[in-house]
């Protein structure tokens, strides 16, 4: 009865659509091939993002692994500064500084010293937050800050860049090790995992 109403054949007929078994498998194989290629590509990207070179300062007793291709500079008033030469317009960088800490010196004194120095060196320097934290059994003081990177040459045609930074202060007996990370605000979070790997590789 219902078959008559809906006009459906009593038995389904096999209709040859022209698609062969080879066609069906080749459609699947093309998808599998693409997924495999993309997976391999993402794996290479992931591995290359985590590729590092070792750095060691015998004088400061510090070693760490920094991203491949970054430039190392030891000529400033810091132990080392590592910069990404390809970052534009502001060069993402890690800086390791050592500050002597006597018995009367607190971590807050060290950070205040940094703030005073930077407020004269860096335009629009602002401390955003300071907090105590513990990572892997080590007490850390983390200071977040921001400033504006503007080229002093007035003929350079580019907008000033908002830069975000983090200071991580580790008290190591009579010295403070300050690890600074600075990056363009636009890519700060994107570059953060790389800095976290750098930090976890730090030995002192």
């Amino acid at each position: 009865m219902s078959q008559d109403i809906w006009g459906v054949d009593p038995e389904p007929t096999e209709i040859d659509t022209g698609l062969t078994q080879n066609d069906r498998f080749s459609a699947i194989l093309a998808v599998v091939l693409t997924v495999a290629a993309l997976g391999l590509g993402l794996l290479i990207k992931q591995r290359s993002s985590t590729d590092t070179w070792p750095y060691e300062s015998r004088g400061a007793g510090i070693s760490a692994n920094y991203p491949v291709g970054w430039l190392v500079d030891e000529r400033g008033n810091y132990v080392v500064r590592m910069r990404d030469p390809k970052a534009r317009p502001f060069k993402t960088q890690y800086i390791i500084t050592i500050v002597p800490m006597g018995g009367q010196t607190s971590t807050r004194n060290v950070l205040d010293g940094l703030t005073l120095q930077r407020s004269t060196d860096l335009p629009a320097y602002r401390v955003l937050s300071v907090q105590e934290t513990n990572s892997g059994g080590v007490n850390l003081t983390v200071m977040n800050f921001a400033f504006v990177d503007a080229d002093p040459n007035p003929f350079i045609q580019r907008l000033p860049v908002a830069v975000l930074g983090i200071d991580i202060l580790i008290r190591d007996e009579d010295r403070a090790i300050i690890i600074t990370y600075m990056s363009d605000k636009q890519v700060f979070e994107e570059n953060r995992p790389s800095f976290d790997r750098f930090l976890s590789s730090l030995r002192y």
Binding site: G18, N22, A27
Partner: protein, 324 residues
């Protein structure tokens, strides 16, 4: 090779009609009309494409001369409108030439190439671009990584994403259309999809930058277009071949892999070759090596595929006539 099917419900591969009298060629079934059509040539395709390549070469020369004659007070940058014109012009020329040649030679063309063009454009903006640049952040990684990683990344991530998107348009949308009735239609439809795909990518590139330099920017747009057209030609050849013959299961994947590899290689070479020796008279960058390679590969691929298609069509026709 050619025989009558035993299944009374067999449909024509092209139009899908249930066949009273079935003709078979390499495990594909046809009605009388499409049996005599699938190996025919799509004449407007070759003429429109050759005209478009001529326009591309003329645009290259025009950009070179224009950059020399441009008033110096303009600096290097030109407004986005110029870039958008450079991006759109080849697509307009191809589409207009295709239908004009079709009308002049009384060759019926369906609106399917225009549909493929629009679909290619939409998918490039809605799927590929967000995936590659917002999710994978490919451009940032390629700009920072080593040469070997850049090469592999261009092939595996860039190449396969672009090639699979174009393949999917042809395989899953055009494949079942009755307008896809000839082997060479595969090339035409893939070419249209890749043209739309590259055109919108180029427009978005110009809009995002808010303008571009006349010579370097303009040649980059043409270089990118050549890369995608080459990819479309390779895909179109393999899909067009497979549509009308039952091929081994690796056939389409081989075409896809070949298209992806060529796409990735050309994208890589299009930028890597432009880094030239730095000297007192050279800035370390020249847009010419990349575009020369890209347009050379495009013309070579086009000639090869045209030759192969025509040869296969002639052989098929001869076989079918012999059987008849």
């Amino acid at each position: 090779m050619t025989c009558m099917s035993t299944n009374p419900n067999t449909r024509c591969t092209v139009c899908g009609q249930i066949l009273a009298r079935t003709l078979e060629y390499k495990k594909r079934y046809y009605c009388d009309f499409h049996y005599g059509l699938f190996y025919q040539n799509t004449r407007p395709l070759w003429r429109a494409s050759i005209l478009t390549f001529g326009v591309l070469i003329a645009m290259m020369l025009g950009l070179a001369i224009g950059s020399q004659l441009a008033p110096e007070h303009l600096g290097d940058a030109v407004p986005p409108g110029t870039g958008i014109l450079v991006a759109i012009l080849p697509a307009l020329v191809w589409l207009i030439a295709l239908y004009r040649v079709g009308a002049r030679t009384q060759f019926h063309l369906s609106p399917l190439p225009v549909t493929m063009f629009v679909l290619g454009a939409l998918l490039s903006a809605a799927v590929t671009r967000p995936f590659l640049y917002n999710i994978v952040n490919l451009d940032i990684w390629l700009g920072r990584t080593t040469v070997s990683n850049r090469f592999m990344g261009d092939i595996l991530l860039n190449g396969f994403t672009h090639a699979f998107t174009l393949y999917a348009i042809i395989r899953y949308i055009a494949w079942d259309s009755p307008a896809f009735a000839r082997r060479t239609d595969g090339v035409m439809l893939a070419f249209a999809a890749s043209l739309g795909y590259a055109t919108l990518l180029n427009i978005l590139y110009v809009v995002e930058l808010g303008g571009m330099t006349l010579l370097n920017g303009g040649l980059r747009l043409i270089t990118q277009l050549c890369t995608f057209l080459t990819t479309g030609l390779i895909l179109g050849y393999f899909v067009g071949y497979n549509r009308f013959e039952d091929m081994p299961i690796y056939h389409l994947s081989l075409g896809l892999a070949m298209a992806a590899t060529v796409n990735g290689f050309l994208l890589y070479a299009g930028s890597a070759l432009n880094s030239i020796r730095l000297s007192l008279t050279q800035s370390g960058f020249s847009p010419w090596p990349g575009i020369a390679l890209n347009i050379g590969v495009l013309i070579l691929t086009f000639s090869t595929i045209r030759g192969l298609m025509q040869r296969q069509n002639a052989l098929t026709q001869a076989k079918l006539e012999q059987i008849a």
